[in-house]
């Protein structure tokens, strides 16, 4: 069951004062996340990660495309009961205390009054803020605010979580604690979708990652495969979606964006695949052995490749 399915979601901004040019912040994105998966959304700063999350949350509206979350349209307000969101460097009402804030958010998410205050107390313990009492958020440190942020994202026990740079600006101790939190959420069976530019975090937590650069999806891979260090698999990119049906059997994974197809194939099957593609008159674009660390994969994907589709 797919927790998140994104189809052709794109966002262009009109820039310029007199003559409006279009600046693409996000090119059409196709992506899906399975239920219970921890999915990392990697990319350098300005790549479009936050734009994607803002689109999914309904903070900005897409130029084209659609998405579903837990099978429902992503703008459906009711589905928001089952999701949680932590924005990048969040700021909360500084005149409230942590329990007041969480209670407010819990109300807005539709939690009934019974048991609400217990849950708030429990949650504050869980994120390591058990002793803040009625201190106003104005006095919280960055790390404490980040924890509040996670607390508000999970207070209503959602199934799918969206985090935007959850570790940003934290000291090593803070990052370690947040990582542990994320791990425990994963153990609870939640679907976690988070964006980051810190590869070691992604390596430690994610099942799969996607690499985005300059608004464009550059690659998706299973972390285990990428970590193996042995070129067991290769990523093949070609133009010619019609050919997909003929070769689907030999692919471990495939991904379509318009006419472009990305497939993952076992190294020994590369030649066979290339032959089939030639027969089908598909235009081969690249063959990349999946080897080395996640970092190498990331770097290879974000190197400027204007010739590619």
């Amino acid at each position: 069951m797919l927790a998140i399915e994104i189809q052709g979601l794109s966002k262009d901004y009109a820039v310029g004062f007199w003559k409006k040019r279009l600046r693409p912040a996000l090119r059409p994105l196709n992506l899906s996340v399975k239920s219970g998966e921890t999915f990392g959304f990697l990319g350098p700063n300005g790549a479009g990660k936050t734009t994607t999350l803002k689109l999914l949350m309904g903070i900005i509206f897409p130029t084209a495309g659609s998405a579903t979350i837990l099978g429902k349209d992503f703008h459906d307000p009711e589905v928001k009961r089952r999701i949680g969101f932590l924005p990048e460097q969040p700021y909360f009402y500084d005149y409230l205390s942590a329990p007041e804030l969480l209670d407010y958010y819990a109300r807005l998410s539709g939690m009934p009054p019974t048991g609400r205050s217990q849950r708030v107390t429990q949650l504050l313990e869980r994120v390591g803020l058990g002793d803040v009492g009625s201190k106003h958020l104005r006095k919280f440190s960055k790390g404490m605010l980040q924890r509040v942020g996670i607390a508000q994202a999970i207070i209503h026990d959602p199934e799918v979580l969206f985090f935007d740079e959850p570790m940003s600006g934290l000291d090593p101790l803070g990052r370690h604690e947040i990582r542990e939190l994320l791990q425990s959420l994963k153990d609870d069976g939640k679907t976690v979708f988070f964006s980051t530019h810190i590869l070691s975090d992604a390596e430690a937590l994610c099942d799969r990652v996607a690499v985005i650069h300059k608004g464009e999806l550059r690659g998706i891979g299973v972390v285990n495969d990428l970590r193996a260090g042995i070129a067991e698999k290769a990523e093949v990119i070609w133009e010619g979606a019609h050919a997909l049906s003929g070769v689907a059997g030999s692919l471990a994974e495939s991904h379509v964006t318009g006419e472009t197809v990305r497939g993952v194939v076992r190294s020994q099957d590369i030649d066979l695949l290339l032959e089939k593609l030639r027969q089908q008159r598909a235009r081969l674009i690249s063959v990349t052995p999946l080897q080395g660390t996640l970092e190498e994969y990331f770097l290879s994907k974000t190197a400027d490749q204007e010739a590619k589709a």
Binding site: K54, M57, G58, I59, I60, F61, P77, E78, K80, R81, I83, G84, F85, L86, P87, Q89, P90, Y91, F92, Y93, Y95, L96, Y104, Y105, R107, L108, S109, G110, G149, Q152, A153, F162
Partner: protein
């Protein structure tokens, strides 16, 4: 839906109550009201009149300033500080957010006005050594002032939904001043012809009209305000505010936030 609206409204009220700047403003007004008896020393035999005029005018003017001041933060501040992001990721509809904020602000302003009126009556009690029957009339002036708040706040909300705090404040205050003289605009419209007449008339109805809500001088003289006037003015203020709030909902619904 109602629980979300109530939650947002109450939180907005809570925010206003904990805002230190607001306290200072209210304190200032109370001081002004308290010093009104001093003004009256200037004009012998008119103490009461002067006190009423100064106090009620202060409540009106500064109440509007407070309304604009908090009002501009309603949406602008939330967008700038990104506190809105975690609200919209919840099952809160955009329109619920706007309407909830507006209701919360109105509650704040009414409480504000009542506080200042209480202070004013106290000053009246002290200066005039007792209250007259006609002092009940003064409540009508306060009520009409609250109706003005209703309208100004809605306007501030509208600007706040698409403009920065500074511009929202400037436009809202400008409309407040124009609203005081809107009647002259309509008189001018009836005397002009053709295209000018239509344009000026349209403008005269779009801006708020405060002329009939400024009864301070009248009640200062002990002149009563008719029941029909109270009802009609209430209707006007309610219709106008609701219309502007609907416009704010429309704008906010379609807006790409930062």
């Amino acid at each position: 839906m109602t629980s979300r609206l109530a939650a947002i409204a109450l939180n907005t009220f809570r925010e206003a109550v904990r805002d230190r700047v607001l306290y200072n403003l209210i304190l200032f007004v109370l001081l002004l009201v308290a010093s009104a008896p001093l003004f009256s020393q200037i004009s012998i035999g008119m103490e009461r009149m002067i006190l009423v005029n100064v106090a009620l005018s202060s409540i009106s003017l500064f109440g509007v300033i407070i309304a604009i001041f908090i009002g501009i933060g309603l949406v602008s501040k939330e967008i700038e500080k990104k506190t809105l992001y975690t609200i919209l990721s919840r099952p809160v509809r955009r329109w619920e957010f706007i309407v909830g904020k507006y209701l919360g602000l109105m509650v704040t302003l009414v409480v504000n006005a009542l506080l200042m009126t209480a202070g004013f009556y106290l000053a009246l009690l002290i200066t005039a050594h007792g209250l007259k029957k006609t002092d009940a009339l003064l409540l009508v002036a306060v009520y009409f002032t609250i109706l003005q708040f209703l309208m100004v706040t809605a306007i501030t909300l509208l600007f706040s939904s698409f403009s920065t705090p500074i511009f929202s404040a400037i436009f809202a205050f400008a409309l407040f001043v124009i609203g005081t003289f809107a009647e002259d605009l309509r008189t001018f419209a009836t005397m002009s012809h053709g295209a000018t007449k239509w344009v000026v008339s349209a403008v005269a109805y779009i801006v708020p009209n405060f002329a009939s809500l400024n009864v301070i001088a009248q009640v200062g003289y002990g002149q009563p305000v008719g029941g029909r006037m109270i009802v009609l003015n209430t209707l006007y203020a309610l219709f106008y505010s609701a219309a502007v709030a609907a416009a704010a909902v429309m704008v906010f619904e379609r807006r790409n936030l930062k």
